[in-house]
Symmetry: C2
Subunit: 323 residues, 2 copies
């Protein structure tokens, strides 16, 4: 069994790669919910939805999130009311948030609804939110203001300096059912190439998760989301620096070293292998940029190979990754 710590777009592609080379029923994705937000009364879970839509082959290839062929009539309508429209929810995508919210108002947990949504899309991979309790990533900006994740990420387009990140509610949160079991009993735990600070960070902040990973550090394999000193997507590079680290493969190694025994870095960073190993992390060099499903499957093979695990021939492919 393979457990994967997941953020959004990068994790979705990593999972697509993994399910192309192993039985999807063997994969459990433990997904960040620190980005979850309430918009217009709806519970929105961006990372869960990005993964669902990607694995279902329905994701918008131009963005890597949301649905392809979307309309935005509800958003246009909200403009009339002067409501928040910087977080654009497509009309078909709204169905997911409406369903989730309706079910949670009926008393269902986020895990239960996530299972229902996954089944409705026919996913083979098992998706589990990191917690059924609310954990909310909040960022303090250089001007002293503290903002919620989506305000930082979407409204401010992460073009502001952050000096502190915290995961509100994490200390009181319980891992969702199955999370600690999956992380403890999996043959390998993969840390997807997601933002270490704001995608992997919240999962590690849920009590019990970091402890389980530390105890099996030798079989935890992370993939660096930083290639040649830059994040492929989002602000991971700037956040690492702003919080006192380094935007580089060795910087990622130092950030994750307490619980990840191995780091897969891109070929572009091959010359920094020594620095990664100085951080006490075994280093594997492979092509990590998942521009296509074939590259994602190749990366999945490299990740499994790092623990000596066999991967089958690639199965059926999803749509091309364009973003």
């Amino acid at each position: 069994m393979i457990a994967v710590l997941c953020g959004g777009v990068g994790a979705a592609r990593m999972l697509a790669g993994l399910q192309a080379v192993v039985d999807p029923g063997e994969i459990v994705a433990v997904v960040n919910t620190g980005d979850d937000t309430e918009l217009h009364g709806l519970h929105v879970s961006p990372d869960l939805d990005t993964i669902t839509y990607t694995l279902a082959g329905a994701v918008n290839p131009a963005t890597g999130w949301g649905l392809r062929d979307e309309t935005f009539h509800a958003m246009d309508g909200l403009e009339r009311y002067g409501a928040i429209t910087w977080f654009r929810l497509g009309d078909t995508d709204l169905a997911t948030h409406l369903y989730r919210t309706g079910r949670m108002r009926e008393g269902a947990t986020l895990s239960q609804v996530t299972g229902e949504i996954s089944r409705a899309w026919g996913l083979g991979v098992r998706l589990v939110p990191m917690s059924d309790d609310p954990v909310r990533t909040r960022l303090r900006l250089a001007d002293g203001r503290e903002v919620a994740f989506q305000e930082y990420f979407v409204k401010l387009r992460h073009s502001v300096v952050v000096d502190r990140v915290r995961f509100e509610g994490a200390e009181r949160a319980t891992p969702a059912p199955g999370v600690l079991d999956a992380l403890g009993s999996a043959d390998i735990v993969v840390v997807a190439p997601s933002n270490p600070v704001v995608s992997i960070g919240p999962i590690l902040a849920v009590p019990g998760v970091a402890e389980v990973l530390k105890a099996r550090r030798h079989s935890v394999v992370a993939v660096s989301p930083i290639v040649a000193g830059a994040a492929l997507k989002g602000p991971a590079d700037r956040l690492l620096v702003e919080l006192g680290g380094e935007a580089s493969a060795p910087g990622v190694a130092r950030f994750l070293s307490s619980f990840a025994g191995t780091l897969v870095i891109d070929e572009a960073d091959a010359q920094r292998r020594g620095e990664v190993e100085q951080a006490g992390v075994r280093c594997v060099v492979a092509p990590t940029v998942m521009r296509t499903p074939e590259l994602a499957a190749g990366l999945a093979r490299a990740v499994l190979g790092a623990r000596g695990m066999a991967a089958g021939p690639s199965g059926p492919r999803g749509a091309a990754f364009d973003a």
Copy 2:
């Protein structure tokens, strides 16, 4: 000042007629919220929205409710999840429910949000929900089952026999700010040709409303929603009979006689004027079927004329009423 007790489609047309012949700023609509429902976590107020969309000239002419030129992508998406889709919410219409729900989650009252939505659509008439507290119309069916209004009205298409109607929460509800003032101080109170049982009934069930009306019964003018023994729309005719009354202009007179001193009945029912007056209700005969905005304006003049009130020449007209 003119206060109007309102249900949905019939009331919306009555208001359109009134605002064509008097200054819209002189009109206060007190609107039924017993039909309100929560769907997918959203607060839906069907009567308020039907009135808003009608007065804004944006209503779907084929149905008399909802918006013209709608798409239903969110509903199609909900079908994937096996969610409730018998209550069809259009994508642009969803914006209204999203805005209302978001604002109410922030602590705004239904009255406040109703004011905001009315202003966004540029309405001249003042819309006030009957109460900011939840009042929910529930109907007991002949088989003993009790259902919520929308289940009766939309899902079961009101083709079932009802043996009791109650307004859950009414006894604990307070009239919304301005309701008793408007009903007490208006020059005339108009009871729109809405379903007496399930549209006007919930408003009367809010503590204080019936008392104010009874005290000024002589200046309360109702319009019969029953013409030639049948409801123009919906189940008003069957409900009146099922609850022990009569589906006729005199039946409406008897139902409303305790608080309405005058009833406007259709020309088709002219021969029943005597029976209306036997119920102790003054009777005015006029064309009441508002197929067009001109007919609605004509009915408005007849209603105001019943109390000796002058109406100006018809102002600008809304779209045709096609439903």
